[in-house]
Symmetry: C2
Subunit: 406 residues, 2 copies
């Protein structure tokens, strides 16, 4: 029986691993390469699904951790699944929550460092919940071989995810594509810890896959991706890709990189270890220059919060680079952000107007800049796809990068 999620590769670029195709899902097709909208809490920040069509958004990725905490996966399930809940009829993905459990649970970049099983008594690590430990350590994520106990970033309440629980949550959320539950390590983790975490992630991947395949109903309507881990170590990344490739996932995510420099350089090698015919998603990386690297390395889909995060800060993308709308030179600039852009923002509004909205602290400022940025990224990937189709990928990349100032 054909899997609910599968990739048809229709074109290949001869000088790289770039390919174009159609990613089929129960909620429709995604023409790849494609940029997915991030909809962490069932909304793209500042942008409603009512704007998606205009922005050329083909699919989105929501987050199991956030939707489990608020409003709860059962509510989303009763609302018809994450797509229907947020009034989007196209293809959806949910990330497993691994990244958020660790990054929000233990507060990367904050004072509290991650508490691992080694740091605390074994019996406490294995305990599902231990309020005393939580109150001693503040925000935390306690990893044991079974799963991870963590505190909510909302209220500090204690929760526990296991691979099986993550599957249960993602089945309820009902996205077309779900991700195996993984341990996302700190960028500061040393080689030994990284290896240990990777091995655990692989055991969790097996358990995630088994739990998914056993749920006949979910298995019929959702595809599952494994997530390649291994931090910044090339040998671990390759080992991770090989181990996961041996498992029968419907696709693969490349994740867990807090610094994109760690992953982009070895992406091609990683992707070579993955089954060629299966779709690959690069998690959380999506600056224009990165998309070209990803596509050349064989990535099919991308997601990234930068278009909306930048938009809220007044930074907009154009084909000559990023610029801040708060710059004084735009005070009397009555031209659109990008005269050739087909988004509703560029069709209607001027830089002078949006600059005024930013200077006045108006909500609409971030909405308009984010909407344009999303369209910029979807348009860029549309252009890249077209260049693969007509055999001009390298020329398009070179001419884009020549004009585009980082």
């Amino acid at each position: 029986m054909k899997r609910p999620v599968n990739l048809e590769i229709t074109h290949r670029e001869p000088n790289s691993m770039a390919r174009a195709g159609v990613l089929r899902t129960p909620h429709g097709d995604i023409k790849t390469p494609a940029f997915m909208a991030v909809a962490t809490k069932a909304t793209t920040k500042g942008l409603g699904s009512f704007m998606y069509e205009d922005m050329g958004i083909q699919g989105l990725i929501a987050n199991a951790y956030h939707l489990y905490l608020t409003p709860g996966e059962k509510i989303v399930e009763k609302g018809g699944g994450v797509g229907k809940f947020m009034s989007f009829s196209g293809p959806t993905m949910t990330d497993s929550g691994g990244f958020q459990v660790f990054s929000l649970g233990d507060g990367f970049g904050k004072k509290v460092s991650k508490i691992t099983a080694e740091d605390i008594p074994r019996e406490a690590a294995i305990a599902v919940f231990d309020e005393d430990i939580a109150s001693q350590h503040g925000k935390l994520a306690i990893v044991d071989d079974e799963g991870v106990s963590f505190t909510s970033h909302h209220d500090g309440s204690l929760h526990r995810f296991t691979p099986e629980r993550s599957m249960e949550i993602q089945h309820a959320l009902g996205a077309d594509i779900i991700f195996a539950f993984d341990e996302c390590t700190s960028p500061a983790a040393d080689y030994d810890y990284q290896k240990e975490a990777m091995d655990r992630t692989h055991r969790w991947a097996k358990r995630s896959l088994a739990a998914h395949r056993q749920d006949i109903d979910a298995n019929d309507r959702q595809g599952i991706y494994g997530i390649v881990q291994g931090g910044r170590y090339e040998d671990l990344r390759l080992e991770s890709a090989r181990d996961l490739a041996a498992m029968d996932f419907d696709g693969y995510g490349i994740g867990g990189s807090f610094s994109k420099e760690d992953i982009l350089g070895i992406l091609e090698k990683v992707d070579k270890e993955l089954p060629d015919e299966k779709p690959r998603h690069l998690l959380g990386i999506g600056e224009p220059e990165d998309i070209f690297i990803g596509v050349a390395a064989g990535i099919d889909t991308f997601d990234c919060v930068l278009p909306t995060r930048n938009g809220r800060n007044g930074t907009v993308y154009t084909f000559s680079g990023k610029t801040s709308l708060e710059r004084a030179e735009y005070t009397e600039d009555f031209t659109p952000i990008d005269a050739e852009c087909d988004c509703f923002v560029c069709k209607r509004y001027t830089k002078a107007y949006i600059r005024h909205l930013f200077k006045s602290g108006e909500m609409l400022a971030g909405v308009l800049a984010s909407a344009h940025n999303m369209r910029f990224l979807t348009r860029l990937t549309e252009n890249i796809r077209a260049s693969i189709l007509d055999g001009t990928f390298e020329q398009y990349r070179d001419s884009f990068l020549k004009k585009y100032k980082k």
Copy 2:
């Protein structure tokens, strides 16, 4: 020569002063009674002009004080006037800034009370700028017979408006309908001060009108409304209406009431003093129950920030009353805010989803609730207009108010 702004009254309700008609402006017609969108700083809070058509917004009112401070009236003028600047092709109004000069300049409801000419040395009051006085008193608005000197709510910088300057600013902003510059008194002002302020407002109205009529170009493309003042004193309100009616304005605003109770009770009497054939705008009052009172008293257009302010706070309007989307009962309510509403929010989204957005602190929450609320008010006035046209205004009002819980 026909004035650029004029009202054609097409229907009258026999048992009240209610009327329906068409308010013609250089940027198109407004079918009255109508609810205008507030676009203080050239945007309705949270709502872009790209949504206006869907919300049935026929016209908007922007603010001369705010646009003078940011981005400056010259920028708006270069951008084609307030409508084009914000990408709205329909009819526009600008309030003169009188209300804002006083309410923001002297900080109503804050610690600083209004400084009037009586409180400070005469020579200082007459002085256009006196930095010493400003630095002694903090935020202030110093009234003299020529105009008012005030501090910006942004940075405390000193500015001065006179009737002539307000006209100059409003000519640059280029709205179809502009308002005479008025003194807006504190609700705490006593009768004597109210009378004095009203007399000054009438002198300023004459000067505003003269300045407008003298600018042939502006006079050809903009209509000017006088503003009835008089605070909460009926005799002053009637005197104000009579005095302004004797001046050849193109329409009239009823303004300056900080408490709607002060004005609604005497609105019919006030309107009876105004020339019947000219349009009347009720400034800043627009709860559903108030609109019925206003229409019955002969008001043609309304504006109010409550639809968007309530929306941002999670309060939405329905035909059975207002409700907060944050109420627990909506957690699993997968029906729209109002099943019969034709706005894009009600067509696409459920209460459970919008509640989730509020609980998650997502920007989209306020956008959706505000958009629905705006449509509710425009739809209500469309219904009221239809009821006047078919002679069922009183029945419609009674049946609406019976269902609608304040």
